[in-house]
């Protein structure tokens, strides 16, 4: 994958090669930047592939910017090219929250994350892929990254789904129930009135997987 970088970028190292995008640490205009490129997927027909990459790139950039209005830390956008599917953004130094799952401060960080997600939801943004891997911890500050599956919504359902994704990603951890509780405490302290409804809906969603099984055909 040599052609996924914008002109003028010099690669320092690949930070992450996910299923959807390649995230690279680069030097650009004498700055350390992160370049996120949504790579073309050969399995999708071109029309659908271009539509998905373009719309996700635009949406991600706009969500990253707007989240700041709620006081949620996100990378700064420097440049974007929807047709080629890349965004150039600021590099956030720090540790990935996923790597801190065994740390003693993890419960505290999950509580803080709850507070931050509450703020985000209060201005009508859902992240869409809330997992510890999408949170960078620098000193005591949490920065949310990867709004690639995010959207604008005030629907209780979408907000509950958002949190359910996080709840699912915590489920392999031994103390997951306590962590979820801490997350929700943080969430309720900042999400405003809809928090109660969102919490109820999360419980409903967690039963739905089973509901699908109940309707089983074969």
């Amino acid at each position: 994958m040599l052609n996924h970088l914008p002109q003028g970028c010099t690669i320092i190292r690949t930070l992450y090669q996910g299923a959807e995008a390649i995230v690279t640490l680069c030097e650009w205009m004498d700055m350390k930047v992160v370049v996120k490129t949504r790579v073309r997927k050969g399995y999708r027909i071109r029309e659908l592939d271009e539509y998905i990459r373009r719309s996700r790139t635009i949406r991600e950039a706009s969500l990253l910017s707007l989240a700041k209005r709620a006081g949620v830390e996100t990378p700064f956008i420097y440049h974007i090219n929807p047709a080629e599917g890349w965004i150039i953004m600021s590099y956030v130094e720090g540790e990935n929250l996923r790597n801190l799952q065994r740390s003693s401060i993890f419960p505290h960080l999950i509580n803080r994350l709850g507070y931050i997600v509450g703020r985000l939801h209060s201005i009508g943004i859902v992240h869409g892929d809330l997992t510890p891997a999408n949170v960078i911890v620098s000193n005591d500050r949490l920065t949310l990254i990867d709004f690639g599956l995010g959207e604008y919504s005030n629907e209780v359902e979408k907000k509950a789904e958002d949190i359910y994704t996080l709840v699912s990603s915590l489920s392999p951890l031994p103390n997951n129930e306590a962590l979820v509780k801490l997350f929700l405490e943080g969430y309720k302290s900042s999400a405003g009135e809809s928090a109660i409804k969102v919490e109820e809906r999360i419980k409903e969603i967690s039963k739905r997987g089973r509901y699908v099984e109940k309707e089983l055909r074969h």
Binding site: Y43, L48, Y51, D129
Partner: protein
């Protein structure tokens, strides 16, 4: 390798009544008898399907007996769930009878795990991400240690349900899969449909609503093409996410929707792009069959599972997370 075991497996969870016989080791299919219920109109009617199974059970058994010496059978397995209660009970009754008659242990197996393990034994996939897609299920799974982990699943209807219901509303009959696939191959025009992924979960109900609205506005070929391209892209995308997350480089598809050529082609394409392997196997084993039940019977027997006749009540809602995957190394050779 231990002494060879022979297992007869009975499938009756939904539309297919199947009797399969498998011998292992080495893995060998001795017989594969199937009788498939086709509704006159609409979808599967549980009691009609059960009636079909009762009517076909004897001739299916006679056919199996004509091919395999049942005196050599060591284990009697049946699909205990998940599935339609009335249908499940037909297979369970036959299995209990055989177990008593042959004086061989009874093993009740999970239908979903059976789909997965027939795929694994046919492809020798030692550590795959599994995309399980059928009329009632849409899940992305991984066998981690001694349990199955569901990494992602549908938040509403199953992919096969989307296809079947759409096909029915479009007057294409049941099952919809083959007809939708055929019509889709006659178009290359895309209509925009909801592409809904949350984490590793998918949702299809919005797509179904949209397709229903477009039924008299767009050509059926175009709708079938758009349905397949959009829905399958979603499934392959979440499969790829799961592979990336786990660092796994094998993918298998299990379940009836896997018979769709386009879905398998996309899976293959995705795997090639990430230097992974899509492990395919003969199309007939994607559909429900007795062979997969027989193989899962051997797997569970080796894990120590035995079922007393008096405890052998069917489990229509049996979730795969309560089932043990095969011991590590079973598919390594």
């Amino acid at each position: 390798m231990g002494e060879p075991l022979t297992c007869v497996g009975i499938e009756s969870t939904a539309h297919t009544f199947g009797i399969g016989v498998v011998k292992h080791p080495p893995f060998q299919i001795l017989c594969d008898v199937r009788r498939v219920y086709r509704p006159v109109s609409g979808g599967i009617h549980p009691s009609e399907a059960a009636k079909h199974h009762i009517e076909k059970a004897v001739e299916a058994l006679q056919e199996a007996i004509s091919k395999v010496d049942f005196k050599r059978v060591d284990i009697v397995a049946f699909a205990r769930g998940p599935g339609l209660g009335p249908c499940l009970r037909v297979g369970a009754a036959l299995a209990r009878m055989l177990s008593l008659k042959l004086e061989k242990p009874l093993v009740g197996v999970n239908h979903a795990a059976s789909h997965i393990n027939i795929a694994r034994v046919l492809t020798r996939a030692s550590n795959p991400v599994i995309l399980y897609v059928s009329g009632g299920n849409t899940q992305v799974l991984h066998a981690s240690g001694d349990k199955y982990v569901i990494l992602g699943e549908t938040e509403d209807i199953a992919i096969g349900n989307l296809i079947d219901v759409f096909a029915r509303k479009a007057g294409l009959g049941f099952p919809g899969g083959p007809k939708v696939m055929e019509l889709a191959s006659k178009s290359n025009r895309l209509v925009k449909l909801p592409y809904s992924i949350k984490g590793m979960n998918v949702s299809f109900s919005g797509m179904l609503t949209m397709l229903e609205r477009l039924l008299d506005k767009e050509p059926i070929e175009k709708l079938c093409f758009s349905l397949q391209e959009t829905a399958f892209s979603m499934l392959i995308e979440v499969s790829e996410r799961a592979m990336a997350m786990l660092g796994v480089n094998e993918l298998i598809i299990a379940g009836g929707v896997g018979a769709n050529t386009r879905l398998r082609q996309m899976a293959n394409e995705m795997c090639k792009e990430r230097n992974a392997v899509f492990k395919d196997y003969p199309k007939e084993y994607y559909a429900d069959n007795g062979v997969m039940i027989a193989w899962e019977g051997i797997v569970q027997y080796l894990l120590g599972e035995r079922l007393n006749i008096e405890d052998s009540i069917v489990k229509p809602r049996w979730r795969i997370t309560d089932v043990k995957p095969p011991p590590a190394g079973l598919y390594d050779n």
